[in-house]
Symmetry: C2
């Protein structure tokens, strides 16, 4: 029978992180509704009332994970845009680079990605934001004459998001493909198409 009261060396911040990590694992694996508080606290070796020392509710801890994903993604994209200015690649190389980076981020944060990109209510908004960003980039290139002028870049941007969404789920997050390879294939497809020139 476990004694109650504060433990030696107890550290709130540490336990909080532990709970967040456990929650990320469980949510990513089972989804929001199928994940019970009892599963999270068990994984973290913490009792249920302790959970409520650190988080207001189940909603709250889930939302915190979603926010982490969203913030890290935004930071990542901003930084990515800055770095790009440095060296000029070919158009193809530049686009490939951008997409590779997104895949790399997802690969490095598989649990948060599952939660923030696929399960959260905010997923919709997040994907829309990415779509808008991509569309702006595409329109810029189109204005510069790199792309056909009769193509609706809105549809292209949405398509690209759809491709990223699906390939991330079916090939990236389970280790079947690497970011570079996926990005290369996608870009070649979108730039040159399937049709044989012969």
């Amino acid at each position: 029978m476990g004694r109650r009261g504060r433990k030696k060396g107890a550290d709130g911040e540490k336990r909080r992180r532990l709970l967040l990590q456990a929650a990320a694992t469980e949510f990513a694996l089972h989804g929001y509704h199928e994940t019970k508080i009892s599963m999270i606290v068990e994984k973290a070796n913490v009792t249920q009332p302790s959970f409520y020392l650190y988080f207001q509710s189940k909603e709250a801890i889930f939302q915190e994970l979603v926010d982490m994903f969203q913030q890290q993604l935004i930071m990542f994209i901003k930084q990515s845009l800055l770095e790009e200015g440095l060296e000029k690649h070919t158009l193809e190389g530049e686009i490939t680079e951008r997409i590779t980076r997104i895949f790399t981020f997802f690969q490095e944060q598989p649990q948060l990605t599952r939660i923030g990109f696929y399960m959260a209510n905010e997923s919709k908004v997040i994907k829309n934001q990415i779509a808008i960003l991509i569309e702006q980039n595409l329109l810029e290139e189109q204005r510069n004459g790199y792309f056909r002028s009769d193509t609706d870049m809105h549809t292209v941007a949405e398509s690209l998001v759809g491709i990223i969404e699906r390939l991330t789920k079916t090939r990236l997050l389970n280790g079947l493909s690497k970011p570079e390879k996926l990005a290369n294939e996608i870009v070649r497809l979108l730039l040159y198409g399937l049709k044989n020139e012969t």
Copy 2:
């Protein structure tokens, strides 16, 4: 205070269909967990015990809707493959036709599509099946020399499913785009790519 017992003109089959319809609406709108039996029976003007005359459980009625989607989709695709043999279009026209039909099916069954294609556990399997079908078609065309031989058709098929998935959600199911237009844009993009020939 409502009287109990059988009502005049009561018809079980009719009520069953009514409940299915109500459930489809509610599930499509709120998802599985957020939809309560109470919401379904309220919408169908039926009391809760009556619900259990027709369905074993909440799971069961949801599964029945998923099965409806899956069966109708399979039937639809089979029929679609038969009709295709009749007249020979151009390659582009034929592919566009196939994709248009899928979009049309989704448009005609928006609720079942939301449920079976986006919410169900089976969604994953269903999408995989479609991806496999598409891949086989693409490989056939590739063997016939219509497509580049250095392209991985698995990735292309997955990409196409991703595109269909996203555009269906963001543009088709809310009436923003029509099947033909979407299919046309996608096929042109995938066949010829974005790159300006100049």
